[in-house]
Protein backbone atom coordinates (compact mmCIF):
# COMPACT_ATOMS: atom_id res chain seq x y z
CA UNK A 1 0.00 0.00 0.00
CA UNK A 2 1.37 3.40 -1.02
CA UNK A 3 0.41 6.34 1.16
CA UNK A 4 1.40 9.81 0.05
CA UNK A 5 2.23 12.54 2.56
CA UNK A 6 -1.07 14.26 1.74
CA UNK A 7 -3.04 11.05 2.35
CA UNK A 8 -1.19 10.43 5.58
CA UNK A 9 -2.05 13.92 6.83
CA UNK A 10 -5.71 13.30 6.05
CA UNK A 11 -5.71 9.81 7.57
CA UNK A 12 -4.01 10.74 10.85
CA UNK A 13 -6.78 12.90 12.31
CA UNK A 14 -9.38 10.39 11.08
CA UNK A 15 -7.56 7.63 12.92
CA UNK A 16 -7.30 9.85 15.99
CA UNK A 17 -11.07 10.46 15.94
CA UNK A 18 -11.74 6.74 15.53
CA UNK A 19 -9.45 5.93 18.44
CA UNK A 20 -11.14 8.62 20.51
CA UNK A 21 -14.43 6.75 20.15
CA UNK A 22 -12.74 3.57 21.34
CA UNK A 23 -11.31 5.39 24.36
CA UNK A 24 -14.58 7.05 25.28
CA UNK A 25 -16.68 3.90 24.93
CA UNK A 26 -20.45 4.06 25.01
CA UNK A 27 -22.65 4.42 28.05
CA UNK A 28 -24.47 1.42 29.51
CA UNK A 29 -27.59 0.57 27.46
CA UNK A 30 -29.85 -0.58 30.27
CA UNK A 31 -29.65 1.71 33.29
CA UNK A 32 -31.82 -0.59 35.44
CA UNK A 33 -29.74 -3.68 34.79
CA UNK A 34 -27.25 -4.62 37.51
CA UNK A 35 -24.55 -7.01 36.36
CA UNK A 36 -23.83 -8.18 39.90
CA UNK A 37 -27.40 -9.52 40.25
CA UNK A 38 -27.10 -12.10 37.45
CA UNK A 39 -25.13 -15.19 36.49
CA UNK A 40 -26.34 -16.41 33.13
CA UNK A 41 -26.49 -19.91 31.75
CA UNK A 42 -28.67 -21.98 29.45
CA UNK A 43 -30.75 -25.09 29.90
CA UNK A 44 -30.99 -27.34 26.84
CA UNK A 45 -33.48 -30.18 26.99
CA UNK A 46 -32.38 -32.74 24.40
CA UNK A 47 -35.58 -34.74 24.88
CA UNK A 48 -37.62 -31.78 23.63
CA UNK A 49 -35.57 -30.82 20.55
CA UNK A 50 -37.33 -31.57 17.27
CA UNK A 51 -34.50 -30.31 15.03
CA UNK A 52 -36.61 -27.63 13.33
CA UNK A 53 -33.68 -25.22 13.12
CA UNK A 54 -35.69 -22.25 14.40
CA UNK A 55 -32.92 -21.35 16.87
CA UNK A 56 -30.28 -21.31 14.13
CA UNK A 57 -32.35 -19.05 11.88
CA UNK A 58 -33.35 -16.77 14.75
CA UNK A 59 -29.73 -16.41 15.86
CA UNK A 60 -28.57 -15.53 12.37
CA UNK A 61 -31.31 -12.90 12.03
CA UNK A 62 -30.85 -11.39 15.47
CA UNK A 63 -27.07 -11.22 15.36
CA UNK A 64 -26.30 -10.78 11.64
CA UNK A 65 -24.31 -14.00 11.63
CA UNK A 66 -22.68 -14.37 8.20
CA UNK A 67 -23.89 -17.10 5.85
CA UNK A 68 -22.14 -20.41 6.51
CA UNK A 69 -21.09 -19.48 10.07
CA UNK A 70 -22.98 -20.39 13.22
CA UNK A 71 -23.21 -19.12 16.77
CA UNK A 72 -25.62 -21.96 17.46
CA UNK A 73 -26.33 -25.06 15.43
CA UNK A 74 -28.23 -28.32 15.73
CA UNK A 75 -26.52 -31.69 15.37
CA UNK A 76 -28.29 -34.94 14.66
CA UNK A 77 -26.75 -37.96 16.31
CA UNK A 78 -27.19 -41.46 15.01
CA UNK A 79 -25.96 -44.07 17.47
CA UNK A 80 -25.76 -47.60 16.16
CA UNK A 81 -26.46 -50.37 18.68
CA UNK A 82 -22.98 -51.78 18.31
CA UNK A 83 -21.00 -48.53 17.95
CA UNK A 84 -21.85 -46.53 21.05
CA UNK A 85 -18.50 -44.75 20.98
CA UNK A 86 -18.68 -43.75 17.34
CA UNK A 87 -21.92 -41.95 16.64
CA UNK A 88 -22.58 -40.50 13.20
CA UNK A 89 -23.13 -36.78 13.59
CA UNK A 90 -24.51 -34.51 10.90
CA UNK A 91 -25.43 -30.84 10.89
CA UNK A 92 -26.17 -29.80 7.29
CA UNK A 93 -26.04 -25.99 7.12
CA UNK A 94 -26.21 -25.96 10.92
CA UNK A 95 -29.55 -27.76 10.79
CA UNK A 96 -31.12 -24.58 9.43
CA UNK A 97 -33.01 -26.28 6.61
CA UNK A 98 -33.86 -29.54 8.30
CA UNK A 99 -32.24 -32.96 8.13
CA UNK A 100 -32.34 -35.87 5.67
CA UNK A 101 -34.77 -38.66 6.52
CA UNK A 102 -33.74 -40.87 9.42
CA UNK A 103 -34.02 -44.63 8.95
CA UNK A 104 -36.45 -46.30 11.31
CA UNK A 105 -35.15 -49.26 13.32
CA UNK A 106 -31.49 -48.44 12.72
CA UNK A 107 -30.13 -47.55 16.13
CA UNK A 108 -31.28 -44.36 17.74
CA UNK A 109 -31.45 -40.81 16.48
CA UNK A 110 -31.70 -37.57 18.41
CA UNK A 111 -30.95 -33.87 18.05
CA UNK A 112 -28.45 -31.90 20.11
CA UNK A 113 -28.46 -28.10 19.89
CA UNK A 114 -25.00 -26.64 20.38
CA UNK A 115 -23.87 -23.16 21.31
CA UNK A 116 -21.31 -21.32 23.45
CA UNK A 117 -21.34 -22.88 26.91
CA UNK A 118 -20.47 -19.54 28.56
CA UNK A 119 -17.92 -21.33 30.71
CA UNK A 120 -17.09 -19.91 34.12
CA UNK A 121 -13.46 -20.96 33.62
CA UNK A 122 -13.34 -20.60 29.88
CA UNK A 123 -10.21 -21.66 28.00
CA UNK A 124 -10.94 -19.15 25.24
CA UNK A 125 -10.67 -16.02 27.39
CA UNK A 126 -7.45 -17.22 29.01
CA UNK A 127 -5.48 -17.32 25.77
CA UNK A 128 -6.37 -13.86 24.44
CA UNK A 129 -3.13 -11.87 24.21
CA UNK A 130 -4.78 -8.43 24.19
CA UNK A 131 -7.70 -8.65 26.61
CA UNK A 132 -10.28 -8.61 23.82
CA UNK A 133 -12.36 -11.51 25.09
CA UNK A 134 -13.52 -11.87 28.64
CA UNK A 135 -16.16 -13.17 31.02
CA UNK A 136 -18.49 -10.33 31.98
CA UNK A 137 -19.36 -9.88 35.67
CA UNK A 138 -22.71 -11.55 34.93
CA UNK A 139 -21.10 -14.66 33.48
CA UNK A 140 -21.32 -14.12 29.72
CA UNK A 141 -18.29 -14.75 27.51
CA UNK A 142 -18.03 -11.73 25.20
CA UNK A 143 -15.68 -10.28 22.60
CA UNK A 144 -14.55 -6.67 22.37
CA UNK A 145 -14.34 -6.53 18.60
CA UNK A 146 -12.64 -3.13 18.65
CA UNK A 147 -9.75 -4.69 20.55
CA UNK A 148 -9.61 -8.08 18.84
CA UNK A 149 -6.65 -8.63 16.52
CA UNK A 150 -8.13 -11.69 14.82
CA UNK A 151 -5.25 -13.96 15.87
CA UNK A 152 -7.70 -16.85 16.35
CA UNK A 153 -6.02 -18.26 19.47
CA UNK A 154 -9.44 -18.32 21.10
CA UNK A 155 -10.96 -20.13 18.12
CA UNK A 156 -8.43 -22.90 18.67
CA UNK A 157 -8.80 -22.84 22.44
CA UNK A 158 -12.58 -23.38 22.56
CA UNK A 159 -13.12 -27.13 23.11
CA UNK A 160 -16.68 -26.85 21.81
CA UNK A 161 -15.94 -25.20 18.45
CA UNK A 162 -18.13 -22.22 19.23
CA UNK A 163 -15.97 -19.43 17.82
CA UNK A 164 -15.10 -18.34 14.29
CA UNK A 165 -13.29 -15.51 12.57
CA UNK A 166 -15.85 -13.18 10.98
CA UNK A 167 -15.19 -13.25 7.23
CA UNK A 168 -15.66 -9.49 6.77
CA UNK A 169 -14.64 -7.98 10.11
CA UNK A 170 -11.63 -10.36 10.43
CA UNK A 171 -12.09 -10.54 14.19
CA UNK A 172 -13.33 -13.34 16.43
CA UNK A 173 -17.08 -13.72 16.73
CA UNK A 174 -19.33 -15.88 18.89
CA UNK A 175 -22.59 -16.23 20.78
CA UNK A 176 -23.16 -13.28 23.13
CA UNK A 177 -26.07 -15.07 24.83
CA UNK A 178 -27.99 -12.20 23.18
CA UNK A 179 -26.45 -9.87 25.74
CA UNK A 180 -28.29 -6.93 24.15
CA UNK A 181 -31.57 -8.75 24.87
CA UNK A 182 -31.05 -10.31 28.29
CA UNK A 183 -29.92 -6.97 29.73
CA UNK A 184 -33.28 -5.53 28.62
CA UNK A 185 -35.32 -8.27 30.29
CA UNK A 186 -35.89 -10.27 27.09
CA UNK A 187 -34.84 -13.84 26.53
CA UNK A 188 -32.34 -14.85 23.82
CA UNK A 189 -33.45 -15.05 20.17
CA UNK A 190 -32.97 -18.85 20.15
CA UNK A 191 -35.10 -19.32 23.27
CA UNK A 192 -37.72 -16.90 21.99
CA UNK A 193 -38.12 -18.85 18.77
CA UNK A 194 -37.83 -22.40 20.12
CA UNK A 195 -41.32 -23.91 19.66
CA UNK A 196 -40.93 -26.74 22.18
CA UNK A 197 -39.11 -25.01 25.02
CA UNK A 198 -36.02 -27.14 24.45
CA UNK A 199 -33.89 -24.11 25.26
CA UNK A 200 -34.36 -22.00 28.38
CA UNK A 201 -32.29 -19.03 29.42
CA UNK A 202 -31.28 -19.47 33.06
CA UNK A 203 -30.20 -16.92 35.65
CA UNK A 204 -28.36 -18.90 38.28
CA UNK A 205 -28.24 -15.95 40.70
CA UNK A 206 -32.01 -15.54 40.63
CA UNK A 207 -33.40 -17.76 43.41
CA UNK A 208 -36.82 -17.82 41.68
CA UNK A 209 -35.46 -19.10 38.38
CA UNK A 210 -36.99 -22.52 37.54
CA UNK A 211 -33.47 -23.76 36.70
CA UNK A 212 -32.78 -24.52 40.37
CA UNK A 213 -35.74 -26.90 40.73
CA UNK A 214 -34.93 -28.42 37.34
CA UNK A 215 -31.29 -29.14 38.21
CA UNK A 216 -32.38 -30.86 41.44
CA UNK A 217 -34.86 -33.20 39.80
CA UNK A 218 -33.30 -34.08 36.42
CA UNK A 219 -30.24 -35.86 35.09
CA UNK A 220 -28.40 -32.82 33.82
CA UNK A 221 -24.91 -32.82 32.34
CA UNK A 222 -22.51 -30.38 30.75
CA UNK A 223 -20.43 -31.12 27.65
CA UNK A 224 -16.83 -32.30 28.20
CA UNK A 225 -16.94 -32.08 32.01
CA UNK A 226 -13.45 -33.63 32.12
CA UNK A 227 -12.05 -30.36 30.77
CA UNK A 228 -13.27 -28.45 33.85
CA UNK A 229 -14.38 -25.46 31.83
CA UNK A 230 -17.22 -24.61 34.19
CA UNK A 231 -19.67 -24.88 31.29
CA UNK A 232 -23.04 -23.27 31.95
CA UNK A 233 -24.98 -24.85 29.10
CA UNK A 234 -26.83 -27.55 31.02
CA UNK A 235 -28.05 -30.49 28.96
CA UNK A 236 -30.98 -32.56 30.14
CA UNK A 237 -31.34 -36.15 28.98
CA UNK A 238 -27.98 -36.11 27.20
CA UNK A 239 -26.84 -39.36 25.64
CA UNK A 240 -23.39 -40.59 26.66
CA UNK A 241 -22.26 -40.63 23.04
CA UNK A 242 -22.49 -36.84 22.68
CA UNK A 243 -19.12 -35.09 22.47
Amino acid sequence: MNISRRKMLILLPAAAVAWESVLAGTPEASPNYKMSDHWWGMLIDVSKCIGCGNCVRACQTENDVPEGYFRTWVERYHVDDTHLENPTVISPDGGKEGFPAAKEDAGKYFFVPKMCNHCADSPCTQVCPVGATFISPDGVVLIDQKYCLGCAYCVQACPYGCRYIHPEKHVADKCTLCYHRITKGLTTACCESCPTGARQLADLKNPNDPIHAFLKTHNVQVLKPQMATGAKAFYNDLDGSVR
Binding site: W19, V22, L23, A24, G25, T26, P27, E28, A29, S30, Y33, M35, S47, K48, C49, I50, G51, C52, G53, N54, A58, T61, E62, N63, R76, H78, G98, F99, A101, A102, K103, E104, Y109, F110, F111, G131, A132, T133, F134, I135, S136, P137, L142, D144, K146, Y147, T176, Y179, H180, R181, T183, K184, L186, A189, E192, S193, C194, P195, T196, G197
Partner: protein, 157 residues
Protein backbone atom coordinates in the same frame (compact mmCIF):
# COMPACT_ATOMS: atom_id res chain seq x y z
CA UNK B 1 36.86 8.82 40.74
CA UNK B 2 38.52 7.66 37.60
CA UNK B 3 36.32 4.57 37.63
CA UNK B 4 33.21 6.80 37.59
CA UNK B 5 34.70 8.84 34.79
CA UNK B 6 35.07 5.73 32.69
CA UNK B 7 31.45 4.80 33.37
CA UNK B 8 30.05 8.06 32.05
CA UNK B 9 28.78 6.51 28.85
CA UNK B 10 26.77 4.10 30.98
CA UNK B 11 25.01 6.98 32.76
CA UNK B 12 24.13 8.47 29.40
CA UNK B 13 22.67 5.16 28.36
CA UNK B 14 20.72 4.84 31.62
CA UNK B 15 19.39 8.37 31.08
CA UNK B 16 18.16 7.42 27.63
CA UNK B 17 16.53 4.32 29.07
CA UNK B 18 14.69 6.31 31.74
CA UNK B 19 13.55 8.85 29.14
CA UNK B 20 12.22 6.10 26.86
CA UNK B 21 10.38 4.58 29.81
CA UNK B 22 8.80 7.93 30.69
CA UNK B 23 7.69 8.42 27.08
CA UNK B 24 6.22 4.92 27.17
CA UNK B 25 4.27 5.77 30.34
CA UNK B 26 2.93 9.01 28.83
CA UNK B 27 1.90 7.34 25.57
CA UNK B 28 0.35 4.46 27.49
CA UNK B 29 -1.60 6.90 29.64
CA UNK B 30 -3.21 8.43 26.55
CA UNK B 31 -3.75 5.27 24.55
CA UNK B 32 -5.10 2.82 27.10
CA UNK B 33 -8.82 3.51 27.58
CA UNK B 34 -9.80 4.65 31.07
CA UNK B 35 -12.20 1.74 31.45
CA UNK B 36 -9.54 -0.90 30.74
CA UNK B 37 -9.30 -2.92 33.94
CA UNK B 38 -12.60 -1.61 35.30
CA UNK B 39 -13.90 -5.20 35.76
CA UNK B 40 -10.88 -7.23 34.64
CA UNK B 41 -8.20 -7.37 31.98
CA UNK B 42 -10.43 -5.91 29.27
CA UNK B 43 -12.15 -2.70 28.22
CA UNK B 44 -15.15 -2.26 30.54
CA UNK B 45 -17.07 -0.13 28.05
CA UNK B 46 -17.18 -3.07 25.62
CA UNK B 47 -19.96 -4.58 27.76
CA UNK B 48 -22.16 -1.51 27.30
CA UNK B 49 -21.44 -1.43 23.57
CA UNK B 50 -22.55 -5.04 23.13
CA UNK B 51 -25.65 -4.38 25.25
CA UNK B 52 -26.60 -1.56 22.87
CA UNK B 53 -26.89 -3.70 19.74
CA UNK B 54 -30.31 -3.52 18.09
CA UNK B 55 -33.02 -6.01 19.05
CA UNK B 56 -34.79 -7.79 16.16
CA UNK B 57 -37.08 -10.26 17.92
CA UNK B 58 -39.52 -8.12 19.89
CA UNK B 59 -40.34 -10.85 22.41
CA UNK B 60 -43.79 -12.37 22.99
CA UNK B 61 -44.72 -9.78 25.61
CA UNK B 62 -44.63 -7.05 22.97
CA UNK B 63 -46.99 -9.06 20.69
CA UNK B 64 -49.34 -9.93 23.53
CA UNK B 65 -49.80 -6.31 24.56
CA UNK B 66 -51.77 -5.62 21.36
CA UNK B 67 -52.92 -8.95 19.88
CA UNK B 68 -54.98 -10.05 22.87
CA UNK B 69 -57.53 -11.92 20.71
CA UNK B 70 -54.85 -14.14 19.16
CA UNK B 71 -53.27 -14.78 22.56
CA UNK B 72 -56.67 -15.84 23.93
CA UNK B 73 -57.14 -18.22 20.99
CA UNK B 74 -53.61 -19.57 21.29
CA UNK B 75 -53.98 -20.23 25.02
CA UNK B 76 -56.83 -22.64 24.34
CA UNK B 77 -54.73 -25.00 22.20
CA UNK B 78 -51.56 -27.01 21.88
CA UNK B 79 -49.57 -24.04 20.62
CA UNK B 80 -50.09 -22.07 23.84
CA UNK B 81 -46.38 -22.26 24.66
CA UNK B 82 -45.12 -21.47 21.16
CA UNK B 83 -44.03 -17.84 21.04
CA UNK B 84 -45.45 -15.66 18.26
CA UNK B 85 -42.11 -15.02 16.60
CA UNK B 86 -41.30 -18.74 16.43
CA UNK B 87 -43.61 -18.81 13.41
CA UNK B 88 -44.00 -15.17 12.38
CA UNK B 89 -40.28 -14.36 12.48
CA UNK B 90 -38.42 -11.37 13.93
CA UNK B 91 -40.86 -8.47 14.25
CA UNK B 92 -39.31 -5.83 16.49
CA UNK B 93 -39.59 -3.45 13.52
CA UNK B 94 -43.35 -4.04 13.50
CA UNK B 95 -43.64 -3.70 17.29
CA UNK B 96 -41.77 -0.39 17.16
CA UNK B 97 -43.82 0.98 14.27
CA UNK B 98 -47.03 -1.05 13.86
CA UNK B 99 -48.70 1.23 11.32
CA UNK B 100 -45.98 1.26 8.64
CA UNK B 101 -44.25 -2.12 9.06
CA UNK B 102 -46.74 -4.85 8.22
CA UNK B 103 -45.64 -8.44 8.82
CA UNK B 104 -45.95 -10.96 5.98
CA UNK B 105 -48.23 -13.92 6.70
CA UNK B 106 -46.07 -17.06 6.84
CA UNK B 107 -46.60 -19.87 4.32
CA UNK B 108 -48.08 -22.75 6.32
CA UNK B 109 -46.93 -25.41 3.84
CA UNK B 110 -43.32 -24.58 4.76
CA UNK B 111 -43.89 -23.56 8.34
CA UNK B 112 -45.99 -26.45 9.66
CA UNK B 113 -43.86 -29.03 7.86
CA UNK B 114 -40.69 -27.69 9.46
CA UNK B 115 -41.79 -28.96 12.87
CA UNK B 116 -44.38 -31.61 12.10
CA UNK B 117 -42.79 -33.65 9.28
CA UNK B 118 -42.31 -37.17 10.64
CA UNK B 119 -38.78 -38.23 11.55
CA UNK B 120 -37.39 -41.07 13.63
CA UNK B 121 -35.08 -38.53 15.29
CA UNK B 122 -37.94 -36.53 16.81
CA UNK B 123 -39.19 -37.23 20.32
CA UNK B 124 -41.85 -39.94 20.16
CA UNK B 125 -44.62 -37.90 21.79
CA UNK B 126 -44.31 -35.03 19.34
CA UNK B 127 -47.16 -34.90 16.76
CA UNK B 128 -45.70 -35.85 13.37
CA UNK B 129 -47.20 -36.50 9.93
CA UNK B 130 -46.07 -37.24 6.38
CA UNK B 131 -47.33 -33.96 4.85
CA UNK B 132 -47.97 -35.43 1.37
CA UNK B 133 -50.22 -38.27 2.52
CA UNK B 134 -51.68 -36.42 5.53
CA UNK B 135 -53.19 -33.50 3.62
CA UNK B 136 -53.07 -34.71 0.00
CA UNK B 137 -51.73 -31.33 -1.06
CA UNK B 138 -54.29 -29.22 0.78
CA UNK B 139 -52.89 -26.31 2.77
CA UNK B 140 -52.72 -27.07 6.51
CA UNK B 141 -55.07 -24.20 7.42
CA UNK B 142 -57.92 -25.83 5.48
CA UNK B 143 -58.50 -27.98 8.55
CA UNK B 144 -56.28 -26.52 11.28
CA UNK B 145 -56.13 -23.08 12.79
CA UNK B 146 -52.41 -22.59 13.40
CA UNK B 147 -53.12 -20.65 16.61
CA UNK B 148 -55.11 -23.55 18.05
CA UNK B 149 -54.48 -26.52 15.79
CA UNK B 150 -56.82 -29.23 17.16
CA UNK B 151 -59.50 -30.17 14.56
CA UNK B 152 -62.40 -29.50 16.92
CA UNK B 153 -61.07 -25.98 17.49
CA UNK B 154 -62.45 -25.08 14.06
CA UNK B 155 -60.82 -24.59 10.68
CA UNK B 156 -59.29 -21.50 9.15
CA UNK B 157 -58.99 -18.45 11.41
Amino acid sequence: MSALKDARHLFRFAGLFVLAFLIFLVVRHYYVPKCFGQYGHYRGAAIGEIAQLPVKFAGHQACEDCHTDVVAKKNTGKHAHVNCEACHGALASHANDPSTVKPVLPDTSVLCARCHTASAAKPKGFPQVEPAEHSQGLPCETCHNPHSPAMDAGGAK
